[in-house]
């Protein structure tokens, strides 16, 4: 039997551009308010079996919380059907129903009552709730003095101790400290074993992978993926990386535009160019780096890569004079300016004999496997002569992002495997 069944549910919100909700305005102006429609959920269907633990992931504003609210019965769908069977307990936001002036104990009674328990049932569970929340010392203090972590402890303790058949949790666990989070996770696992249906929204993908039987990825009000946690989370991360990439390229475009505009406006004085001091660029410009392009294995311009992907750096150059034995080099730094790696054509014995006047071309630097951990990296590109005289040096002028699907820490991914033998 399905504990939750959602069929063809659509929910739109009206976003009022100009809001007035007074009787006077309605009568005097006699018109309806102007509004735009925002479709939070678009024809969503989903069935959750009894005892399943399902996680919802998606970017902010994708409709996860709306769906959870529909399940609780706080919101009603515009069309479609929602059926939830069994006692539902939900933890949508911290401190809903807490009264700041009352003590923790009084609030437990109130909150549990709100969740539909009778006084007798609450009394029976009171000690358990207080014990779980670890707030024994503060339980008779007014909750206005509680920290947000304490609020969450209390709310969570009440919500799970009512022993619901269906538990709905919106991203609230993040407030607790590590120990309490662990305890919550254990408790959730416990409930899961007892056959509680759990639906939760979280951005903690690690926890989600550990706890869920199934993960549903929602984007722009539609279900994109609904499958095993690992599978969906990987796809989701990949999507995030692509989105991030688009944003970075857009941003870079904006910055370039601004620079161009600046240069255009700076008249025809030749000296201006030199006066325009660029902290990150120096050299005599006998050979100039005209562009640096990062590409993936498809030859697509990118600024965000998955760890292990191929990365191609294309360095466009133009020489203004005759130079012998130019050396092209690159370096990669972390945001904290830790030097991760650096090399040049000289070190690698890749000889470029000479460049004559007005030569234009490009040099490729290919990384078949980008073995870096997740994070943002700064890229330095330079052209100089054999002795280190700089023609054009772009110090950490470029950056790219690496997203990792695994949770290793550090900077470099070292190829490895684990093994074990007993003596």
């Amino acid at each position: 039997m399905d504990a939750i069944s959602i069929s063809n549910v659509t929910k739109t919100f009206k976003i009022f551009t100009e809001r007035s909700s007074t009787l006077k305005d309605r009568i005097v102006k006699g018109r309806k308010n102007k509004y735009q429609e925002f479709c939070a959920l678009n024809n969503v269907s989903l069935n959750i079996e009894k005892g399943q633990t399902v996680g919802f992931i998606g970017r902010n504003g994708s409709g996860k919380s709306t769906l959870l609210k529909l399940l609780t019965g706080i919101l009603y769908p515009d069309s479609g059907q929602i059926r939830v069977s069994g006692k539902v307990s939900s933890l949508l936001e911290l401190g809903a129903g807490f009264h700041p002036d009352f003590t923790g104990r009084e609030n437990i009674f109130m909150n549990a009552a709100i969740l539909g328990l009778t006084k007798k049932e609450i009394k029976k569970k009171l000690d358990q709730i207080i014990m779980f929340s670890e707030l024994k010392g503060y339980i008779d203090n007014p909750v206005r003095n509680y920290s947000s972590g304490m609020y969450m402890r209390l709310a969570f303790s009440v919500a799970i101790m009512v022993e619901p058949e269906v538990l709905l949790i919106d991203e609230v666990l993040a407030v607790g400290d590590a120990a309490f989070q662990q305890k919550c996770m254990d408790q959730l696992r416990n409930m899961k074993q007892k056959g509680t249906t759990i639906v939760f929204v979280s951005h903690d993908l690690g926890a989600m992978e550990k706890l869920c039987d199934r993960v549903v990825w929602i984007n722009k009000g539609k279900i994109v993926e609904d499958d095993k946690p690992k599978k969906v989370i990987d796809k989701y991360l990949e999507y995030l990386a692509i989105e991030e990439d688009k944003r970075l390229i857009e941003e870079a475009g904006e910055v370039n535009k601004q620079i161009e505009v600046k240069q255009d406006s700076s008249d025809s004085f030749d000296t201006n160019k030199e006066n325009q001091h660029d902290e990150q660029r120096w050299g005599n410009r006998k050979v100039e780096i005209t562009d640096v392009i990062l590409e993936d294995f498809n030859g697509k311009k990118k600024m965000s890569f998955l760890s292990g992907d191929e990365l191609l750096i294309r360095i466009h150059y133009k020489s203004w004079g005759f130079v012998e034995n130019p050396v092209f080099g690159i370096a990669i730094h972390t945001l904290e300016h830790v030097h991760c790696y650096g090399t040049n054509t000289q070190i690698d014995y890749y000889k470029i004999d000479e460049l004559s006047v007005n030569d234009v071309g490009e040099v490729y630097f290919k990384i078949p496997q980008l073995n870096l951990c997740g994070g943002t990296y700064l890229l330095t590109v330079a052209i100089h002569d054999e002795n280190g005289l700089q023609y054009d040096f772009h110090d950490k002028k470029y950056s790219f992002k690496v997203t990792s699907l695994s949770n290793e820490v550090g900077i470099v991914k070292i190829d490895h495997h684990w093994d074990r033998s007993e003596f």
Binding site: S21, L23, K24, H99, F109, A113, G116
Partner: protein, 258 residues
């Protein structure tokens, strides 16, 4: 309707919590505590007695006692309406975050009002005693009048509580309406003082039989007009069903509108 009633019954513990919260927040932290609730009608009583007894010179034996009964009775309706109007908005935190039958919100306001009313009786009886007003057997009809009054108040409070979410200025309009209504009800005057030509107009006021009933029981030591009350009771139940229907329709969008 039946399903809703069962559900509200299931949430009775929450209802109790809300009523107690309401009562306690009203008294907690205030030095005079419970006496604040009595202070309001007592002050009103003082002002009205002064004006109507000595300035307008209404000649009625024990006018103060008569006035006090009316004011205490009226307070239940006026406070329920005014406080009920904002009850949904005040509890936005609950409405937006958890599911519960929203009908509980106006219901808790009215129940709180009833408790206040009963507590006021504690003061009313000494006043009656010192004014030498006799009360007796007709007191047994008190639960009947109160029940009718309760249903009537609940119906109106439920209606304004949901309408106020959509028309926020309703609460301001309401205070004017309540004031006008106060003067159209025999509280500061007696029914006999209404000119014969206007009697039919005043008869339309549904608060008339209720306030009259209380006056009869507490002031005249007479049995109230039961048939009139019965009619009003039926009317109130009908009204309540309509109001609950409207509330049910409108409450679906509460979480978005607040």
């Amino acid at each position: 309707m039946y399903k809703k009633t069962v559900e509200i019954f299931k949430y009775r513990q929450m209802l109790e919590s809300l009523v107690l919260t309401d009562l306690r927040t009203r008294y907690k932290g205030s030095f005079l505590g419970f006496f604040w609730t009595l202070l309001n009608p007592l002050l009103m009583l003082g002002v009205y007695s002064l004006v109507f007894k000595y300035v307008v010179r209404i000649s009625l034996e024990n006018y103060t006692a008569y006035l006090f009964i009316g004011i205490v009775v009226w307070n239940l309706l006026s406070q329920s309406l005014v406080s009920g109007a904002t009850s949904v908005i005040r509890n936005a935190g609950l409405v937006k975050k958890i599911y519960f039958p929203k009908e509980i919100l106006p219901l808790s306001v009215v129940l709180g009002g009833v408790i206040n009313f009963l507590l006021s009786l504690v003061v009313l009886f000494p006043v009656l005693f010192f004014s030498n007003v006799k009360v007796g057997l007709p007191l047994i009809t008190l639960p009947i009048i109160l029940t009718v009054y309760f249903i009537f108040t609940l119906a109106l409070t439920t209606l304004v509580s949901c309408l106020n979410v959509y028309f926020r200025d309703l609460e301001h309009i309401l205070s004017v309406v309540v004031m006008a209504w106060f003067y159209l009800t025999p509280i500061v005057f007696t029914e006999d003082m209404i000119p014969a030509g206007l009697k039919s107009v005043f008869a339309l006021n549904p608060m008339n039989p209720i306030v009259n009933g209380f006056h009869k029981v507490f002031f005249y030591n007479q049995f109230p007009d039961m048939i009139q009350l019965l009619w009003l009771g039926l009317l109130s139940i009908g009204l309540l069903i309509i109001c609950y229907f409207v509330f049910g329709k409108l409450s679906r969008k509460f979480a978005e509108e607040i």
